[in-house]
């Protein structure tokens, strides 16, 4: 270990959603009323699990095929989602585990508690994962999910979205968020999107259509970069990416 200052950059809680956001009704009884207790991060938060590519199967980053029968594929607009995982200093985060989940093209999730009348796609499961390369790049293939109704307000619909869960270099960087699609008018009506205080912050979750990365006659591409909290330094030899 070195003597350099360590730890995580503090989180800007005015940029993230507050805990209590009444238009998103479930937050009312699931939000702590007391303020979170500020503490400098310690080794317990500055360290975290490391995932290696051993855990990945050959189709983990291909949601079009990873649940499909042989010779079949999921129904829906074929897309590539790609981007970088960075930290707040702009460095790519290598070996970050990115896990995604989503509904099918009709907005139906493969989950026993889901009862929306849109049908399941027998060739679509809805989960995928990828580990970033040495520069923080990731890419996966899927179908564009559909919007779906949910029991919040009497007529609330989620915009098309893909859920993202990301591990950086430390447990204190842990983040779950959602990716939305450029141009979707439902984004600006959604109470969950609306938990984010500023339009500037919301736009950071909107993936851009990228016709240059689009593969002709195959799949359109969307770019989605993700920024994790900054890390002041890295203490371990297996994590040389620190300052």
């Amino acid at each position: 270990m070195t003597e350099k200052p360590s730890g995580l950059f503090h989180r800007d809680r005015s940029w993230h959603p507050a805990a209590l956001t009444p238009p998103y009704k479930t937050s009312v009884k699931r939000s702590p009323a007391a303020a979170p207790l500020a503490m400098p991060s310690t080794l317990s938060e500055d360290t975290g699990p490391v995932f290696t590519r051993d855990i990945l199967g050959p189709q983990d980053a291909d949601l079009i095929h990873n649940f499909a029968s042989d010779g079949q594929s999921a129904i829906g607009p074929r897309i590539i989602v790609y981007g970088r995982v960075l930290d707040e200093t702009g460095r790519g985060v290598p070996n970050a585990l990115v896990e995604v989940w989503q509904a099918n093209a009709g907005g139906r999730y493969r989950h026993k508690k889901e009862s929306y009348l849109a049908p399941l796609d027998p060739n679509f499961g809805g989960c995928g994962r990828v580990i970033t390369d040495e520069h923080g790049n990731y890419e996966f293939r899927t179908i564009q999910p559909g919007p779906y109704p949910w029991p919040n307000g009497p007529n609330d619909w989620r915009p098309a979205h893909i859920h993202f869960s990301i591990f950086g270099q430390s447990f204190g960087q842990r983040l779950i968020t959602q990716m939305y699609f450029e141009g979707d008018p439902m984004i600006w009506q959604c109470p969950i999107v609306g938990t984010i205080p500023s339009r500037e912050a919301i736009e950071r979750l909107v993936a851009a259509l990228d016709m240059r990365r689009t593969v002709p006659m195959d799949a359109r591409a969307y770019k989605f970069d993700i920024v994790l909290r900054g890390v002041r330094q890295t203490m371990f030899e297996n994590r040389m990416e620190g300052l």
Binding site: R30, P49, D87, E88, Y109, S165
Partner: protein, 201 residues
């Protein structure tokens, strides 16, 4: 004008939603054949050093109702207080676990070993603890907390994090209660009179 600071802003958080299991524990949610096993279900190898323990409990909302759609992750050191990735760490202690709450009764459960004391930044020891992170429908930003062990009273009294809590009356919300059989009970109250302390780390 001064030079611009070039730091980026962190991506804003969003709720994990009710179907978090599809992505993070697909086998648990019935999506089989994609991944061999759900990540984080096994926290130990064949011969971990230390005392085997079970950490179990529920996550309760402001009405006292257990969440049946929450997901917890836990991160801890080995029996010597060394984290995986550090020199000398016990290779049979993976340190990280992930568990969804039961869809019927809302319980979570981790099979692990009791961690040793970890050094604080200034070199003083922290009392044995595990770090927890909780996400669910209705939680907009994942909640960080710690579970300490109620049967480590002396170490807890000297713990630098516990000592800095102004409202000492709330410290018991961070204590896992030993049940006498290696099980520690740790209920997490999101809101209300017994509200668990959450940290802004």
């Amino acid at each position: 004008m001064v030079q611009k600071l070039e730091n980026l802003k962190e991506s804003p958080s969003q709720t994990a939603g009710p179907y978090v299991h599809i992505g993070l524990t697909p086998n648990f949610s019935g999506i089989t054949g994609v991944y061999d096993a759900d990540l984080g279900t096994k926290m130990l190898g064949n011969a971990p050093k230390g005392e085997r323990i079970t950490i179990t409990g529920r996550v309760l909302d402001g009405t006292g109702t257990p969440l049946r759609d929450a997901l917890l992750e836990i991160w801890q050191a080995d029996a010597n207080g060394i984290y995986p990735g550090q020199d000398g760490a016990d290779a049979d202690v993976y340190g990280w676990g992930r568990c969804p709450t039961d869809m019927d009764d809302g319980t979570f459960r981790f099979e692990t070993i009791k961690p040793g004391a970890v050094q604080n930044r200034d070199g003083t020891p922290m009392a044995p603890h595990v770090t927890l992170w909780i996400v669910a429908r209705g939680i907009n930003l994942g909640l960080h907390t710690r579970m300490y062990f109620a049967d480590e009273a002396e170490a807890n009294a000297a713990d630098p994090v516990l000592k800095r809590i102004e409202h000492q009356v709330r410290v018991p919300t961070l204590m896992g209660q030993p049940q006498g059989d290696g099980t520690y009970l740790f209920d997490i109250h999101l809101q209300g009179p017994d509200e668990t302390i959450f940290f802004d780390i």
